[in-house]
């Protein structure tokens, strides 16, 4: 076995060109997922008939099935829905004109929403109830109390979990390779098959993922330090 170090470097240069796309594919679903997660978490805590059980099913289904299934279900399922709607209402939309990237991001968004909602829920539950009662006692409304006291604390406590979700979805973007999207793994595969040097190309892409993950952890550590600077908890 001889690992062609020069080729690893070349592959690194080639593959790192699509880092922005991969980051875009990670940031968008995680950001939208947090928005969905906040809504879902609050509705689930409110115990609304029919809606809450439905959202419970949503969360447990997306947490209970592999992410590749979500991508495939959206990729094959959404065109049926789009075409069906377009046919009934005679709209000039065709599912074939939707870019594949959109399907991947949508699938990852659904998935991220389910994971984020659980994190936010546990974050809110981790804030002692006395905080809310104290806010009520000084005359704040529920929304005010949430916005000013509960949510900032909940987010501070959820940062490590969000970091894990972010890294998890960074890794999940590698699944887009199955729909032949040219993200990191996809390009690595192309570089590998063109030059017939599979090991080197995957070493290169491994290094890239690893560096991004380490940097993410590092940044999140800094943010966590700043956010939790005023909360002296524990002994």
């Amino acid at each position: 076995m001889t690992i062609d170090i020069a080729f690893v470097l070349e592959a690194l240069r080639e593959i790192s060109k699509v880092i922005p796309l991969t980051l875009f594919m990670t940031f968008t679903p995680v950001f939208l997922g947090i928005v969905i997660g906040i809504i879902v978490a609050f509705v689930r805590m409110k115990q609304i008939k029919f809606v809450t059980p439905l959202l419970n099913l949503y969360v447990s289904f997306f947490r209970g099935t592999p992410i590749i299934m979500h991508i495939m279900l959206v990729y094959f399922g959404l065109p049926l829905i789009v075409d069906g709607v377009a046919n009934t209402f005679h709209l000039a939309i065709q599912s074939s004109s939707i870019p594949i990237l959109f399907f991947v991001i949508l699938a990852l968004t659904f998935s991220a929403g389910a994971y984020a909602s659980e994190i936010i829920r546990s974050g809110i539950l981790s804030v002692p109830k006395g905080q809310l009662e104290a806010a009520y006692a000084i005359g704040l409304t529920f929304t005010q109390a949430m916005r000013r006291y509960i949510l900032p604390q909940a987010f501070g406590k959820s940062i490590p979990n969000f970091t894990n979700v972010f890294i998890g979805f960074l890794h999940a973007t590698s699944l887009a390779f199955f729909l032949s999207i040219k993200e990191l793994t996809g390009v690595a595969n192309i570089v590998a098959s063109v030059n017939l040097k599979f090991l080197e190309a995957f070493i290169a892409v491994g290094i890239i993922y690893w560096s991004i993950s380490i940097m993410t952890e590092w940044i999140s550590h800094l943010i966590e330090k700043r956010v939790t600077a005023y909360s002296k908890s524990g002994l």
Binding site: G64, T65, I68, M72, V205
Partner: protein
């Protein structure tokens, strides 16, 4: 192509797919068992602060946690034969199943190492001292006092790792293993009914995960049976 979603087909496909469920479980069981053994071996140097070894293990764990399982699969699939070629063992005809089990074992080992390390650290040092003071020796104190307390802390994380490992097995088909998803892919090629097949696969995974979660919940209660009931948790 007919665009109607065929519910009956899902029911028809499920038995065919379920025939390949044992393959998925085989990957899962072997990778969890080997992963636990290696995980314990990796946790020890980190707990005892053995220089060099500790740093190497930290880098290993960081690498596994920092790369997608798909990339790890490809690295093992192309890397292990290349390494074994150095010692003149030809494995190019080896069943892809072995590569999958190796990958998931390596991946689970990293996860378990961190879980075990964290769990043992949560057990108060005084427990060990108390055990010594009543005349237990090192291994006895660990097995009878520290370990039962550590496993209580570790269990929810072990359960989560098992469940995410089960979901990860859905990628085994990418290097050519004929598991449930692999069979699904061949069915898609022959029936062109991709959506129904993915729905069927999702249902199978969902049901297994739900059943596993129920079992783990039950076990968790068992491990916590000696814990004093806290009144003011929520």
């Amino acid at each position: 192509m007919e665009n109607n979603f065929d519910f009956v087909l899902i029911a028809k496909l499920l038995p065919t797919l379920l025939q390949y469920l044992p393959v998925t479980f085989e990957i899962l069981v072997f990778s969890i068992l080997f992963g636990m053994v290696i995980g314990i071996m990796l946790a020890i140097p980190k707990l005892l602060h053995i220089p060099v070894l500790k740093q190497i293990i930290t880098i290993y764990i960081s690498f596994i946690r920092g790369t997608p399982i798909l990339v790890q699969l490809f690295l093992v699939f192309y890397g292990v034969p290349a390494i074994l070629k150095l010692i003149h063992i030809d494995v190019t005809r080896m069943d892809a199943m072995y590569f999958v089990i190796i990958t998931y074992t390596l991946s689970n080992a990293a996860a378990f190492a961190e879980i075990f390390r964290a769990a043992i650290l949560t057990v108060d040092n005084g427990q060990m001292e108390a055990a010594y003071s009543v005349g237990l020796n090192g291994p006895q104190a660990f097995m009878r006092i520290v370990f039962p307390q550590a496993i209580r802390v570790a269990f929810p994380n072990i359960a989560n790792t098992m469940i995410s490992s089960l979901k990860d097995t859905s990628l085994a088909f990418s290097i050519g293993v004929m598991d449930m998803v692999g069979r699904g892919e061949t069915l898609i090629a022959s029936t062109t009914r991709a959506l129904e097949i993915y729905v069927a696969l999702s249902i199978v995974y969902f049901v297994i995960v739900m059943v596993l979660e129920k079992i783990f919940k039950f076990n968790e209660r068992y491990f916590n049976r000696y814990m004093p009931k806290e009144i003011a948790t929520h």
